[in-house]
């Protein structure tokens, strides 16, 4: 079935079975590398994208359910050269080791800061609690989200 997806403000057609998880459309049909396969069970968060601004697990979201919605991948936030403030904060805090979880961390943090521009430590932990990191970069990620919140408030960090 031919479906049109609006990814990072660009409409693209894919030929795909409607029940296919969005992750495979993004990675294999549209060649995005940001969203990662981690579990396919919505348990780890590595595949997180934004659907109309909300963090969603692309590994279980059927592609047909996101037609007509705004899909944003981490590539739509910024780049290594021109990072989004959340990405810049992660870089500033050197928040990561292997980096495989970072797509999900950045996407979950960005969605959180859109809803709550000045979250408490407890609120950040709660928002990221469903995102798994195995390297143990949690402390740096928490600092990065706080730094991003400050920066996005307009304050210099």
């Amino acid at each position: 079935m031919k479906l049109t997806l609006n990814v990072n403000a660009r409409k693209q057609a894919v030929e795909i079975a409607p029940e296919t998880p969005l992750l495979y459309a993004l990675r294999n049909d549209l060649k995005f590398n940001g969203p990662k396969f981690g579990c396919g069970l919505a348990q780890c968060g590595a595949c997180t994208v934004h659907i109309d601004g909300k963090a969603v697990r692309a590994c279980v979201a059927p592609v047909s359910a996101v037609v007509g919605k705004k899909i944003t991948t981490i590539e739509g936030l910024g780049s290594a050269d021109k990072p989004h403030p959340v990405q810049a904060a992660f870089i500033a805090e050197q928040a990561g080791q292997c980096g495989y979880c970072l797509n999900g961390m950045v996407m979950a943090a960005t969605a959180l800061l859109k809803e709550n521009s000045n979250p408490s430590d407890t609120e950040i932990r709660a928002a990221l609690n469903g995102n798994l990191c195995r390297c143990g970069s949690h402390l740096r990620i928490l600092r990065a989200v706080k730094r991003a919140a400050k920066a996005m408030h307009g304050g210099a960090v």
């Binding site: 396969f37 348990q43 050197q94 950045v106 798994l132 143990g136 402390l139």
Partner: protein, 747 residues
């Protein structure tokens, strides 16, 4: 796509223009490298190690690989320092057997330690060559040249200068290393020792980093494997029609079963729906108590350390204490399941995967495929963090088998249940300890013996050490090894005996998990030291210091006590934490180890809160002091130590593989939980002790080893309950609390 994927080293050198040189490492003995001795002469040319490009960049050919710990940055700093060249213009090519020198496996926190000196030497050698070329061209003597950021200047006339690119860009060095190149004095370092930001993180944070999971080959198909439903099951037949409508092709060879499809989701669905008939082995009863079972296995005992006369010392002791410690099977639990691509056509094979040992995998793959090893190239590409021997090598063999069968490039990404179910596991262990105390409470005799399987079943050229190899008829072949890591303690006692008892049986495939046996052995040793301190009413910090002679060991123990504001009065003995009334008891514990008794020193203090009603343990603060010799990148080391603490905490609190006679039954994150943000302590403080006069040793494992003991000791300090088995799940802790405080006693 990375253009290197399609090019051989020869083509790379022609296209990029490069340098070379080779010869046995000047100033380094073979023992100081991980390069196989017989290969040392292969890499005598400088061009084996680095190249100056026409674009002015330096390319380093590195046999060690990035596992997510940041060594790309640290190794770049080492090269930059000796070469007087900016880190930002160094490109590191790692682990590609067509391009890089064999620097052995990337394991055991040995990359900076063993791989760094080779790169340092090559960089110094290259700098000397470049300085000589500059001197010739500028008409001065070599000692009249200074080099800054890749530009050679005449010291007395700095307007006379030549860049590295002008000197040698696109050309080969074409010389062997001379052994004459002088290494820079450590006092003059300006790059090594600095917290240079990691070169890989911006792309990882932007989602543009080239993981193996992102490699796409023209015309590639997606593959998935279907494992036997029980260990030892035999394939009878597959019903190919069961997946025909999905467009998948079924591949079988021996007991290996896989599916290949044009679309990934079709391969996934086919693997799930494929009807297969297996002949199951007779169901074997598995003892529900794995530690009881371990004691029944045939075994062989090996001595690790002995001094004094243990046999005489115990009978003379005023008091003897004994304790046994039990640890579970645990998994690496990589967030990204193993992934590999293979292109096997016309009798040759190229494999993209995140192995820790590209050269050892080449031979294994060649034997599985039945082709010559020189026709196999492993193009290492970074994967998700592995923390040891996970499924990376196995997925490579899976992809190779499928590609060979269909004659097209195949990408295999393991599903979550494949990774949880079939990655090799860190083995369950038993540690039995005994100590003799004299009438003053001094330790006069120490006896340690553990019961363990091997801690390494890496491929190392053996096809039978991979799942695909085993399923296609190759027998496993590995040594019993690494069960004695930190079996010995750094403490000095008048009589000491340390032994390990290896068994070959194992209900699950065992292999290297971060620290190998050091995490388990240190849990036992450091819990037992705490038991002895409590038995003699000694402060756990002072007690440890009284048996430590090594000044660096003493320094980390003292430093962590200072950092944590250790209060000897408060921490001595049991139940310093509240023991009356409060539901939540708090306490703190310390543990120490020197990794492998000869590498990094780490001491850890942990504060816990224990809910007496339900046994729930929360780690509220963690402190560490760490000494890994000369620090190459302080933020890199700090990042590693923090990760060691958090992952070590996760293993101690939550992690235990469940299994039965069919194999692992913990097949997702619900069944095998790991630490989450809500579990992370509020305070984590790390003090790094830099030792510029001591060689750099690895920082990737040392600090994780004391963590389980420090937590167990803190639980004891809080509640008086001694936990001799982790994970410290609430049921286990609650049971220990009940046994410690029987009904009617103060609780």
């Amino acid at each position: 796509m990375n253009t290197l994927l399609q090019t051989s080293r020869r083509a790379f050198l022609q296209a990029g223009g490069a340098v070379v040189v080779s010869f046995a490492f000047p100033g380094l003995s073979a023992a100081q490298t991980s390069t196989p001795k017989e290969k040392l002469t292969l890499y005598e040319g400088l061009d084996s190690w680095l190249a100056i490009g026409q674009d002015g960049r330096v390319t380093v050919f590195c046999g060690k690989v990035e596992l997510g710990t940041g060594v790309t940055t640290g190794l770049s700093q080492i090269v930059a320092e000796e070469l007087d060249f900016p880190v930002s213009r160094i490109r590191m090519i790692m682990g590609d057997t067509a391009i890089v020198p064999d620097q052995g496996t990337t394991t055991g926190s040995k990359t900076t330690q063993m791989g760094g000196p080779q790169l340092r030497q090559a960089a110094a050698e290259a700098r000397a060559v470049l300085a000589g070329l500059a001197a010739d061209k500028l008409g001065v003597s070599a000692d009249a040249i200074i080099i800054l950021d890749g530009v050679a200047f005449v010291k007395a006339a700095p307007e006379k200068k030549l860049t590295f690119a002008e000197l040698l860009g696109g050309k080969r060095f074409d010389r062997k290393m001379t052994r004459q190149a002088k290494l820079k004095a450590i006092a003059d370092y300006t790059v090594v020792g600095q917290p240079v930001p990691r070169v890989d993180l911006p792309a990882k944070i932007a989602g543009s980093f080239e993981y193996v999971h992102n490699v796409r080959l023209p015309g590639m198909l997606h593959g998935r494997v279907v494992r036997p439903p029980a260990i030892g099951a035999k394939l009878i037949r597959v019903d190919e029609a069961s997946v025909k409508k999905l467009g998948a092709r079924v591949v079988t060879r021996g007991n290996f079963v896989g599916v290949v499809a044009r679309r990934e989701e079709a391969a996934i669905a086919s693997a799930r729906q494929l009807k297969i008939e297996w002949e199951l082995p007779p169901a074997v009863a598995v003892d529900s108590d794995i530690h009881r079972e371990l004691r029944t296995y045939p075994s062989e005992t090996q001595g690790v350390k002995a001094n004094g006369d243990v046999g005489a010392a115990f009978p003379q002791a005023a008091r003897i204490l004994k304790a046994s410690y039990h640890t579970p099977f645990q998994m690496h639990a990589s967030i990204g399941p193993s992934c590999a691509l293979a292109d096997v056509r016309d009798g040759s094979a190229t494999i993209w995967c995140g192995t820790q040992h590209s050269f050892g995998l080449v031979t294994a793959v060649a034997k599985v495929l039945g082709i010559a090893p020189d026709k196999v190239r492993v193009a290492w590409t970074e994967a998700a963090g592995c923390y040891g021997h996970n499924g990376a090598d196995d997925s490579a063999v899976d992809a190779a088998l499928l590609s060979q069968a269909v004659g097209k490039p195949v990408r295999v990404q393991w599903m979550r249940h494949d990774e949880h179910g079939f990655e090799p596991k860190g083995p369950a262990m038993v540690m039995d300890l005994a100590a003799g105390l004299d009438s003053d409470g001094n330790i006069v005799a120490w006896d340690f013996i553990n019961i363990t399987s091997t801690h390494s079943t890496r491929p190392r050229h053996q096809p039978g050490n991979t799942l695909g190899g085993q399923l296609t008829g190759h027998a496993p072949a590995y040594e019993l090894s690494n069960g004695g890591r930190n079996a010995d303690v750094s403490y000095e006692f008048p009589a000491k005996r340390v032994q390990i008892r290896y068994h070959k049986s194992s209900p699950l495939r065992p292999s290297a998990l971060r620290g190998l046996s050091a995490y388990q052995n240190t849990f036992a040793n450091e819990s037992f030291m705490d038991e002895l301190a409590a038995a003699t009413h000694a402060d756990p910090v002072a007690f440890r210091l009284s048996y430590l002679k090594d000044e660096r060991a003493r320094a980390v123990v003292s430093a962590v006590a200072r950092l944590a504001k250790w209060d000897a009065a408060g921490a001595a003995g049991a139940s310093a934490g509240s023991s009356t009334g409060n539901i939540v008891a708090s306490g703190r514990g310390i543990a120490f180890c020197q990794y492998e008794n000869e590498n990094a020193y780490a001491a850890v203090v942990v504060d816990v809160e224990v809910n007496r009603a339900n046994g729930q343990v929360s780690v509220t603060k963690m402190f560490a002091a760490h000494d890994c010799g000369l620090i190459v990148n302080p933020d890199g080391v700090r990042n590693q130590v923090e990760g060691c603490l958090i992952q070590g905490m996760s293993r101690a609190l939550f992690e235990e593989v469940a299994f039965d006679h069919t194999g692992t039954t913990s097949l997702d994150w619900a069944a095998y939980p790991i630490a989450r943000f809500n579990d992370i302590p509020q305070v984590v403080e790390v003090e790094l002790i830099n030792r510029p006069d001591k060689p750099s040793v690895g920082a990737g494992e040392g600090a994780t080893c004391p963590v389980a003991a420090a937590i167990g000791n803190a639980i004891f300090n809080a509640t008086g309950a001694r936990l001799r088995q982790y994970p410290f799940k609430h049921e286990r802790v609650k049971t220990a609390l009940i046994n410690t405080h029987p009904v009617g006693a103060t609780a």
